[in-house]
């Protein structure tokens, strides 16, 4: 058996119903076509009926004229008016003829068949010449057909007759017939409407059934599967779907449940494994934390040492202020800033007068004490922004930012005065010489330093304990 034939009966029903629902418009269209066709047929029938009836009446006129032409001859010849009346009465009783008139050879009406005989004496319009050869002449008005015929045997014409057919019976007959056709048609229309209504209701029923069928057997299980899948996706492996059928969908549901069970087992194993891993990780983490702690401690120690080294690298070990290397670094930076931002900066070089004598007289330790004390005194009397460093031996440098040469001179003078007045225990007064210069446009660090040094030289040469500027 081929796979195509393995479709479950429910889906077969589903497809059949879908086909039926789809056939409904075709059915509706065919009904419309049949309806239109029958409507046209009805009109043709009506028209045909009218033509046939008129033809029949024409034939009746012809036959009756022929008959009366002969039948009236004898009674008219005998002037048996009663006989003529009887004949007229019989014919009128059996046909829908309105009137039959019998006239003499002049066309004067002798009798219309009635006792009252109101037509007596009237004159028929006779076209005698034509009636010599024709059996009858027919004239037609809206309401009647009239036939005039000769009453004759061979060429012997003894009178004329006139038959009048009212169209009223024709109209009545047609009305009845048309009414009967219309009635049938209306009945048929009702059938069609009924049929279409039933078909529509059936189709609606089928569609409702389909939607319920689709919802129950396809959509609802799929939604359940979707929800269950989401639960699984969210990590809830307790999800399962009911297996409601043994068809393809049922198989899918079963497979889904099996898959979820398998995932659940795997998840449990993974959880157990994760738990072991967690323990391992905790141990490792602890170890790492310990190692890290140790490392951090080592880093701190190293950092401290580094800082210490850094301080040692930039400061003078005796006085604790910046050493020459650090000062040169700062000078480089500040001169660049001064050039870029056009900030006035000045440099003061300080040299302790006759410091060799101090060392010689009081020893190097006393000399160190002098250096330290002077450093403290200068450090206290300059701004924090000013860079103060030991240049070497008994020489110091003060980089005064945001000050021109005048500002530097004033500061230097202030410091000279202060140092001059200060008494160092065991030694007494120590003076210093000051040289100051301003960083000018076109200066380099070296030219700047040289000019400052030149100013100091001038101060020294000029007798010391003074401030010289360049």
């Amino acid at each position: 058996m081929s796979a195509r034939l393995k479709i479950h009966w429910k889906y077969a029903v589903f497809f059949i119903l879908i086909t039926l629902a789809a056939l409904f418009p075709a059915f509706l269209m065919s009904n419309i076509v049949i309806f239109k066709g029958l409507d046209s047929l009805k009109e043709v029938l009506k028209k045909g009926e009218i033509e046939e009836y008129e033809e029949t009446q024409h034939l009746a006129v012809k036959n009756l004229s022929g008959y009366l032409s002969q039948a009236l001859f004898d009674p008219l010849y005998r002037l048996d008016i009663e006989g003529i009346n009887l004949l007229i009465k019989q014919i009128k009783g059996e046909t829908n003829i309105t009137s039959i008139l019998a006239a003499d050879a002049s066309g004067k009406v002798l009798t219309d068949g009635t006792k009252e005989n109101p037509s007596y004496g009237a004159h028929l319009k006779i076209d005698a010449a034509r009636l010599k050869t024709l059996p009858f002449l027919i004239t037609e008005t809206e309401d009647v057909h009239k036939a005039v015929f000769p009453i004759r045997v061979k060429e012997n014409t003894i009178g004329y007759g006139e038959i009048t057919f009212s169209k009223e019976p024709l109209k009545k007959h047609l009305k009845q017939h048309v009414s009967s056709i219309d009635s049938l048609w209306n009945k048929y229309q009702r059938y069609i409407v009924f049929l279409v209504l039933i078909s529509t209701l059936t189709t609606i029923g089928v569609i409702i059934f389909l939607s319920r069928f689709f919802s129950r057997y396809l959509t609802a299980p799929l939604i359940t599967l979707s929800n269950a899948s989401k639960m699984v996706a969210d990590g809830d492996f307790s999800a399962s779907v009911p297996v409601e059928s043994k068809d393809e969908l049922g198989l899918l549901q079963e497979n889904f449940n099996a898959m979820v069970r398998k995932l659940n087992d795997m998840n449990a194993k993974l959880a157990a494994h994760a738990k072991d891993l967690e323990k391992e990780v905790a141990i490792r983490t602890e170890e790492l934390e310990q190692t890290l702690k140790r490392l951090m401690e080592e880093i701190a120690v190293r950092k401290e040492a580094e800082e210490e080294l850094k301080v040692l690298a930039t400061t003078d070990s005796l006085t604790g202020i910046y050493n020459r290397r650090k000062f040169e670094e700062s000078l480089g930076i500040e001169t660049q800033r001064a050039v870029r931002y056009k900030i006035p900066i000045s440099l003061i070089e300080v040299d302790i007068d006759y410091f060799k004598n101090v060392n010689d007289i009081y020893g190097h330790l006393a000399g160190d004490d002098v250096l330290v004390e002077i450093t403290k005194l200068v450090g206290k009397n300059i701004r924090d922004v000013d860079v103060f460093a030991r240049w070497g031996g008994e020489e110091f440098m003060i980089l005064v930012s945001h000050n021109d040469i005048e500002g530097a001179r004033i500061l230097a003078e202030k410091l000279r005065t202060m140092l001059e007045k200060h008494r160092i225990a065991g030694i007494g007064s120590v003076t210093c010489s000051f040289g100051a210069a301003q960083f000018n446009e076109g200066d380099t660090v070296d030219s700047f330093l040289k000019r400052t040094d030149d100013a100091l030289y001038n101060a020294k040469r000029s007798g010391r304990n003074r401030v010289c500027i360049l």
């Binding site: 005998r78 002037l79 048996d80 008016i81 009663e82 006989g83 009346n85 003499d104 002798l110 006792k115 009252e116 005989n117 109101p118 007596y120 004496g121």
Partner: protein, 295 residues
């Protein structure tokens, strides 16, 4: 034996006498009419016959009977044979039967709603014929040889007026006679005149009234006879006065109850029946006079 023979002879005579006995003696009332269609007449008059018989119990009459004769002569025989108690016939036949069989006219019968009639002579309006005398040498149309009002009476009237009436086909001096033809129907008579096949016609005033107005407008009446009773009831002369009176009373009262009306209607559409008056008897005399001129 002679005695026995004598008694048997007497019994035979008695039986012979009573075998033709009248109504009160044979338990039935016999109504006589003349027609060549006995079936129709029996059907027409049977109700009347029963009606009469059922009211004559005191005369020991149990049933009614219709006696139909094909013509007057046969009826005369039946009268003579005492086969009939009451005869309904036209005035002319009644006079003939009275003359030949002794019947006694007593009742005027409104046959077809008509008590009496006159025969009218008519001609075309533009015709030069203006009086009955002008018909001499002319042609007149009658209905039928059996007709009283449209043949016998007008023919007699012509003769009474000194004219000779001869059939058209009969050879003779037509200038001194009125030639007559038959048209079978009263209406045809009118058309014979209108279509100039005859110069005049004659039928009863009732027939004249039946003509349409348009036709009457083209005709004129040139003469009319005296009135004649339309239909007459006559008793056999042998009927007792008491029975005669009783039957007359029954017939005269017939139009006063529904059963009687129905019976009258069925019997030639009789409207009612009356006793003959003196004028009626004079009319009969006139008829008798005319009959002298009938062949």
């Amino acid at each position: 034996m002679n005695l026995i023979k004598s008694m048997l002879f007497l019994a035979f005579l008695t039986a012979a006498v009573f075998s033709n006995a009248f109504a009160e003696n044979n338990n039935e009332f016999r109504l006589g009419v003349i027609s060549d269609q006995p079936g129709d007449k029996i059907e027409d008059y049977i109700l009347m016959s029963k009606y009469i018989a059922s009211r004559l119990n005191e005369f020991n009459i149990k049933t009614g009977k219709i006696v139909v004769a094909k013509d007057v002569d046969e009826m005369i025989k039946k009268v003579k044979n005492k086969e009939v108690d009451l005869i309904f016939e036209s005035a002319f036949s009644t006079i003939e039967m009275k003359e030949k069989a002794g019947i006694k006219p007593a009742l005027a019968v409104w046959r077809k709603g008509v008590r009496e009639y006159r025969t009218l002579f008519f001609a075309r309006k533009e015709s030069p014929v203006k009086t009955i005398a002008d018909l001499n040498g002319k042609t007149i149309v009658f209905e039928d040889p059996k007709s009283t009002s449209a043949y016998a009476l007008p023919k007699a009237e012509l003769r009474q007026n000194g004219l000779t009436a001869l059939p058209l086909e009969e050879k003779g001096n037509s200038n001194n006679a009125v030639k007559y033809v038959f048209a079978s129907q009263e209406l045809n008579q009118a058309f014979y005149v209108l279509q100039k096949r005859a110069d005049a016609g004659a039928f009863s005033d009732n027939d004249w009234n039946e003509l349409s107005e348009k036709i009457k407008a083209e005709l004129k009446i040139i003469h009319e006879t005296k009135p004649v009773i339309r239909y007459i009831g006559s008793f056999h002369s042998g009927i007792s006065d008491k029975l005669k009176k009783a039957v007359e009373d029954i017939l005269i009262d017939m139009d006063k109850n529904q059963e009687g009306k129905d019976a009258l209607k069925q019997a030639s559409k009789i409207k009612k029946i009356e006793r003959l008056t003196d004028n009626d008897f004079k009319s009969l005399e006139y008829v008798k006079e005319l009959m002298r001129y009938i062949d």
